[in-house]
Assembly symmetry: none
Homo-oligomer: 413 residues x 2
């Protein structure tokens, strides 16, 4: 069973709004083992809608349209669908009554333009909209199923969960499908691919592996389908873990800041942060986790040398002899943060994020990150690119992974 | 000239990520008077990609694809495009050299799988990627223009602005269209709508006004088309400014942190920040602006009371008598930040962002923000909702606007 989603509306095409409806439908259907193979978006133009219906029908068994069911002149989905099937529009008195009542309940008179919402193409089933005035339409013909839904997100979602999903499940033919995501940090996409040499043995039509990078982490999504899907997923996962366990920090929907937070809490540690180049981003991200005040004591954003000295106790001689971007400064900043907040772990960042400020010896993208814990302080150097905002994210990813690894090393449980 | 955008990637179909690329491309092309008539999304499956290319070619003059150019096995866009046009893939040594250099610059060896990124279909133009390893491809044939772009947003955006847009403009045939965005802060969408009562006089098919909210600010985008477009835009803008100048902080692509940065620099002020509830987000945002080290001296993330006392000098009695979330604490934090960093302006945030931690007297969403400058310190109370991450953004917006207004009040020039 192949599914196509057809979104109708100029506002999506011109980027005035982002098509979150399509994403929501995708993840909802994917969760029940239905396969979406096509998303189509066209504007409020008859010929484009007709062409898109033709294309969707030629490739798919189930077609879901959203949008264009409102009462205004640019809402033409219903008339296009009717034209595509050569169906006359007929006034459904019971729906008209319901639409009229909706207005009366709010002490308003139904505008004449809303009468159109009670028109139903011949042969179509109309489903009452419990959250708005436009009913949804369904047509089952020649083994193909068409759902015409409103575009207002909460109305569309009600129809999806109450009508579309139950009907697809009842119709049967959904694939047995299992999915799992492993979350990766500290290694790039290509390097990971190298580590997973031999994975082709597992891959095929019934087992796919997607590499989904975002700024901070990489998501490896395994999908298996058909008989024995769970077993095949389990063995593939086990194999991946045997090759890449070092970089797997979690699974599913966890974030790395949540994982780091749990590690800190479970080990009874507290954290403080001295940030120069990351400018507050590390503290911001750590404190995004609800309850982070349990282990996060605070941070200093020490952009100036004076701040590094006065608030963190970095030695004047370190700054003059080694420079603000140096191993020694990173170490003293981490120790300073630990001490001033009375935390068990102090971390630090200092570097040149660009676009300006680099030198031959310390080019843009040079970053030192430090960590002080249990009487030991280390700092590691990173070399990033020249894009300031991406560099900030890279520093963040590196710091979070350094804390994670340091806590794991200490307590392998 | 009809344009189709073809997004390639399973992760979009199954709703793992939202297709923000399509929205960005839509609004970018719309701004130059180009018309997008079709968005198509298909997964990483050869037959679906070939069918989508066929459909896009049959309806459109310009086809832009994004995604599927990475080095991994599920990146098959290039081979599909080559197959669609019956073009052989040839190794481009100069691109291979550039890709290899990118790795070497970071002290790494290029993994063999990246060799594929230097393959170019015969007859295609390859454009070097200055931000990543996958080059873009262009094919101009039989009056149709195909752009094959990577899906990584910042790489796609670079190619769009540096290559696609200039090329479409050079090709001609675009509608006369003028757009301008006014940037708004400190007022909500509905309230602004009330202030702009009477705007219907300006609106019509050739003049539209879009309200585009994002987390920090609101963008009011005026679009006029046809003869006299610029004049009509100018009068509409003048009218809007006469109604809402108080909330307009800039225009075009400026951000509020850049505007605040310029105000600080031009007035010779320096800034320091004491953050409790915002957890580093304010410092992070201020330091996103290149050159911000000129006016941003630093910040303290003081989550714990101890940190508020020790680093910012907040009085013990203030904390016990008035509480950490109070006008008095906000004022002392702002003064403390100003003093400890030796800045001319100190700002502060303290509040309960949720989801937990509220009381009857101080419910979740209660936030105080303070500012100390020129011998005066004030703090204002804000009441937000219960969504932790949205609240952080709201605190940020309020702080930035408070700094902006304080600087404007001082020096109306």
């Amino acid at each position: 069973m192949k599914i196509a989603v057809l979104t109708i509306g100029d506002e999506i095409l011109i980027g005035q709004i982002v098509n979150t409806n399509a994403a929501w439908i995708g993840s909802t259907l994917s969760a029940i083992g239905a396969r979406i193979e096509l998303n189509l978006t066209v504007g409020d133009a008859k010929l484009d809608i007709l062409a898109a219906l033709e294309y969707a029908y030629s490739t798919s068994d189930v077609i879901i349209t959203t949008g264009g069911l409102g009462p205004t002149h640019d809402d033409i989905t219903k008339s296009c669908v009717a034209e595509y099937f050569g169906a006359e529009l007929e006034l459904d008195e019971s729906i008209l009554e319901i639409v009229r009542n909706r207005f009366e309940k709010r002490g308003k008179t139904m505008p004449p333009s809303n009468t159109g919402q009670a028109l139903v193409p011949q042969g179509f089933e109309a489903i009452i909209n419990s959250a708005g005035s436009a009913p949804a339409l369904v047509l089952e013909r020649s083994n193909k199923l068409l759902f015409v839904l409103p575009g207002v997100p909460h109305e569309m979602k009600l129809f999806m969960t109450q009508n579309v999903v139950p009907r697809l499940i009842a119709n049967g033919g959904l694939e047995e499908r299992v999915q799992k995501s492993l979350l990766i940090t500290g290694i790039g996409e290509s390097a990971l691919q190298e580590k997973l040499e031999g994975m082709d043995h597992f891959l095929g039509e019934n087992c796919t592996l997607a590499f989904l990078p975002n700024l901070l982490t990489l998501r490896l999504r395994i999908t298996t389908t058909g008989p024995g899907a769970q077993n095949r997923l389990d063995s593939f996962e086990e194999w991946i873990r045997s090759k890449a366990s070092e970089w797997i920090f979690g699974e599913g929907e966890t974030t790395i800041e949540e994982v780091v937070g749990s590690l800190l809490r479970n080990s009874g540690n507290t954290l403080s942060i001295a940030e120069s180049c990351s400018g507050g981003l590390v503290a911001h991200t750590i404190t995004n986790v609800p309850g982070s005040s349990d282990y996060m004591l605070g941070g200093v954003v020490a952009y100036s040398n004076t701040a590094k000295q006065r608030l963190l106790g970095v030695n004047d001689s370190t700054l003059t002899e080694k420079g603000a971007v140096s191993k020694e400064t990173a170490c003293e900043m981490a120790e300073g943060a630990k001490k001033v907040f009375g935390a068990t772990i102090g971390v630090s960042t200092t570097g040149i994020l660009g676009p300006g400020g680099g030198t031959a010896e310390k080019p843009v993208g040079t970053v030192w990150i430090g960590i002080a814990m249990e009487g030991q302080t280390i700092a590691v150097k990173q070399q990033f690119g020249s894009d300031r905002l991406r560099n900030k994210d890279r520093v963040l990813a590196a710091v979070l992974n350094l804390i994670r690894k340091s806590l794991l090393k200490r307590d392998p449980g």
